[in-house]
Symmetry: D4
Subunit: 220 residues, 8 copies
């Protein structure tokens, strides 16, 4: 039997509760945790990378009351209360193939009670896409920019907006896209200054990074 030491004090320490990363875990353990946490009143936990096939294989009483979202592969029972901050996070993506990462970020923000708006399909091969939406994007306070391939969207964006940018490379594409490594490198060496980068496909992490900023503002 696998032993789990749940980190109940994490929210108090760092402002973000522990989440359950399901990939690579035995489904029986995920099911046990899902059942346990959905019954508690005082604790709700986010499950990430939970494949639909696995979730649907659970008994009805486990699935019941769980808010599951297949594209993002996330689940939770109850979101945290609305964040005290009145600030909004923009989630941009370059193309529709980035959708699962977009929605992992969006669902994490939803779970954390943080306002957000999604701007999909802004890739710079058609520069008008990002230029048309610029005014709306600038009304947000933090930007999560999601792109694969050349990730050129991030550099263009970084030269046009004055907000914090958390960039997430995605593993779309083939050949020299190298499962997202090209996009990652492009973001890290972006000619636009002050862009911070997350692991490949890590929409969850970008949402947490945004939450750290908003938490700091509230606590300052």
């Amino acid at each position: 039997m696998q032993h789990i030491s749940f980190d109940y004090t994490r929210k108090a320490r760092i402002g973000l509760p522990e989440a359950v990363f399901c990939q690579g875990k035995d489904p029986s353990i995920v099911q046990k945790l899902l059942s346990e946490f959905s019954k508690k009143n005082d604790a709700s936990i986010l499950f990430t990378r939970l494949e639909e096939k696995i979730f649907r294989s659970f008994p009805d009483e486990t699935q019941e009351g769980v808010n599951y979202h297949p594209l993002s592969r996330t689940a939770f029972s109850r979101p945290l209360p609305n964040h005290a901050s009145q600030k909004k996070v923009a989630i941009l993506s370059a193309g529709s193939a980035d959708a699962s990462v977009v929605w992992e970020a969006a669902r994490t923000l939803e779970y954390l009670g943080i306002q957000h708006e999604i701007f999909e399909d802004c890739g710079v091969a058609g520069l008008w896409r990002i230029l048309d939406k610029l005014e709306e994007i600038q009304k947000c306070h933090i930007i999560i920019a999601i792109a694969g391939l050349d990730a050129a969207l991030v550099s263009v964006l970084g030269g046009l907006v004055d907000k914090p940018i958390f960039a997430v490379p995605t593993s779309v594409g083939y050949g020299m896209a190298k499962n997202g490594e090209s996009a990652l490198s492009s973001m890290l060496v972006s000619c636009a200054q002050g862009v911070a980068v997350m692991n490949i496909d890590n929409g969850y992490g970008a949402a947490c990074a945004a939450a750290r900023v908003l938490n700091m503002i509230e606590n300052a």
Copy 2:
């Protein structure tokens, strides 16, 4: 003759002025820019990666009035006015070999008029180092965490503080340290959530990322 299109409107667009990255540029061009900008009253420019040997080779009238700092390889004539934000940035490093990156970040913040405090030599091989300073670090509002090798400092820190963290891998070490690639990977896959990462040795970028956050707070 090389032609330079200086981006004078960048500060207005993104809140951060263009800087001159000197590495790989012909010294004569750097000298010309340094002379030009140090004479202007309304514009001061940050020069990064300017090697001491090159700076010292310039005529006295070029060096005069320039605030040059060898360890960080940075130069500027006048810092920007004090940032409206009353917030402070903590700059942590794992070991004394990370010093040039620490100081590139510190000097960039100084140039941008942003308060900051340096906490060097916090590597977790002696866990007491970071634990002893934790209270002071928590008084800051944003953390720049600089580490090479295993970059374990960043994961420990990320599990102990609730502030935004911009992590900078450094190219110290040998063998499998791979000029900073190991530290970079460790930071990107850190078990601590919401840590955002910059390019290897990019202290300048981390300072800019912090500035984007503070600018957003002021402008919100």
Copy 3:
């Protein structure tokens, strides 16, 4: 027909019997070896990387009397006699996704007749986890430390305990975790001195390394 030259004298030479690594071998050969060795009185052999699906496909008489453990994918008929050493090996892991490697190490030690204790889910994102267990861990004589991703657990541990540490990187995670290569590099360049490293996911090898130490003590 594949020809196998079994190394019967290995235990006499190096203190460790040959084991059968099943991955990539034709199931019919594995079955033949399993049948052969389970019948011998004077020889018991450890089978590693034996997938449950393959083991279960064998006829009942082959499965009978075999101690098979699915999570670790190991099998043996009879463990070796209790090791003369009264010493105990601690097996630590960072997260529950490392379980199959933890158990490959544990099962190998069980087969070798060596005392051991498992400490799972000690990842440093919640530093209290490792600190809480430190006293118990220090009562052991050798430590096998298993971690994926940033492997920060190993560096923290190496700065807190004075025991030999054999570190095993695991292939958990995605993106820049690179199937365990990031954890491997982190361990090799760990800021904690004197940490020795095994191949990715090689729980078996770490148990053997511990056995070499205990054998040396007994024989000295």
Copy 4:
């Protein structure tokens, strides 16, 4: 003694004369070839990657009559006659650190008798740079686009102009710029369709690719 089989019929076969790549060749051989070819009336050869220090070490009679250009490290005695094509090649670069590659391309075109115009410092961190020059660029017939780091310029350009684009990644930058490999990958997986890519820093090759197009037009 090194034996050289000069490919005198190459121009007849592929429309481009053989050139001498000097890097890695013994200076005495380069000097011999330079002397030999500058004296011939019917043949002029382009020398690439000829370091200034080496060229200046040659005796005066070797240097005499040679058109040497230090930044591009190229030399030739006489350019080929003006190309029959009335078409013009645009050479764009992202930043001033790309200058040596820009000039290797420009000098090769000059040697081949092909019209060209240079547009430096067009990096998209200041999007106005490329937009301001777009009309002029569109008047050219072929584009050589030179960029390092994220190479985002190429993707933006590819979505704005309808001309053939030969993209050259440069080895500027540090860390994850990986001596131009990041820029190369970005160009190869560019979201802009139909962009063709050359080896890192290969300004010479891009000029030859443009010449193949112009030769085809003339010969068709």
Copy 5:
């Protein structure tokens, strides 16, 4: 729901209409786009990387009127009108394992209304293959050269013909073929000058690069 911002003005801007890259997209979205575009009179769209299994799973009314080609995994309803250019593109391949890339290029040219001719199985292990076809190949105006493994075909070809060459590495082979990276590197460092290179397996991109050249000739 995924949001798509179709780039209707792309053809006007760059001479090439947007295409739909189906890999990684949800089949329901592909089906929706396929239905939508096949009904329009004024717009026909190319679908690439559309697996046969997915296409065949669509309802009959979606499949109807669609020109689908399994080997190339491409689909379109109506090709664009015949290209004004009277020029022809040669598509060469080294071996029969390169066929899916050959046909992706051919089908894209067919969709774009551009004349082309296929020369398969020209690998230089039998040098007569390419020499026998040389005269026919030279009658074409642009060459798309497709090869995996050592990609030696491209270097030999580049030394024999005077036409523009767009080289496409393929992911055939095993071991050090590295899914096409060896072929890619060989093409980029080819000893034949002026060869331009596309991403691994990117037959579509090579056809677009050829189209950019032909469009330029028509518009010049």
Copy 6:
């Protein structure tokens, strides 16, 4: 339809007939070639990397008369006549997981009419294995040495025997075995001098290299 230019004159040119590498080819093409060549009297062709599942899916009349060997994934109708050389090739392997490569080499030699002897499971973890067989091995004239992982067998062998050695790395193992790249590197930098290396898992190539030597002896 895929077009194949069979290289009928290859045997005359290089002493080795063309073979059909089936992986990545459409099964219908493989079937057609298999049928065609098994009927000819004057030509027999070797098929490599032909998966059993595909071969068994062919109609009986195609399978009939074909000598198929599943472990090596090879097929041919008739071997070439016995090689004039009276010399024998030794095929050594380090472990039983290397068997498919061993047999690809053995079957190729059988097809080429060349004498050979197999020595399996000679890995140096039990040094007696190779030492016991040394006398027999030395009676052969050429050695094909097949090993994965550390490939230490090759270096030990190279220091003990005076015969030509063609070393083949195999893709066995996990983690840092890197699908055979570690074994490949070890062989290339072997401390034993004069060891020549083939691509990973390329048993076919090693047999051809041996055949080149034997052909040269006969023709000299």
Copy 7:
């Protein structure tokens, strides 16, 4: 000024005092630490990677009383007292090019007061070298095995001796030796079980790993 937090309690915690890794540190800091520690009676510190040129540049009073060893690039004033353990560490190397790593290990053991014996030039290209010394090696209790290139020595050794083995890859060689990465991979995937591995060229770390074992024996 760089701030150093020396970890004075490390010896008490983990049995090994902190050492000063000089590479990448400013010489003035190294000199200051060297002066400081050589004067203390109760503390002696090991300096590693201290280049001779730098050490010799220090004033005489700094050099005085310091035991400096150029090949190993190590310095200390006084070794620790003889280790309570009566056990001996064997240091083996494959070739004479590994000498600086051999001596870094030897000097660290000398500093730690641990008995040791050096066996150089044991590479398996001449198998008799290691076989001749085997009896002497087996009299030691722990083995540090140092090798570059194919590192075959480690696998042979691991199959012949029953002692703990700490293997150190070295960066000797060229081409595919890849600065020690090939040797590292070979060691990690060694066919000999229970071999533990250190970072490339890390003789210091191997000595510390051996010390952890000996400390454990004394404290048990």
Copy 8:
């Protein structure tokens, strides 16, 4: 003092005497060996990778009587007697930048007493080069083929000649030539069958591989 165990019996065992690889060895050791061996009557040793600057720094009495060749960086006092074999080795290279590797191979053959002929500058960008020399090359018995960049020469050659081919990649070129790794990969996956490959720049190894073949013929 470094200890050297010279392998005097190697010639008897494997037909090739031990050689001294000087790179990375202390010059004083090289000098000592050079003096020692040049005085012996019954033993002559080959020194490889001995830089001219180091050789010239030795005292006259050490240099005297030594046959030193700067381009190949090799030295020996007396060659071995003429090889009993009447066979000749062809050494081909693609370009003049490969010369140091060509000459390392040639000098090793000279030292071993083996006949050889050099064919430089045969690169396939001018296919006539290799075709013109084909008849002469075919008169040799073994081919050493040396090439960098795309290494296309090797594939063309392998399809034209029936002799054993030992291919040596060279580290010439820049960018994606990757210090010879591209050439190495191309050779390993060459479409020409039975080509065996040596480490990058390893002319010495190729000569030894050829010698193994010739020795076998003599001894058979």
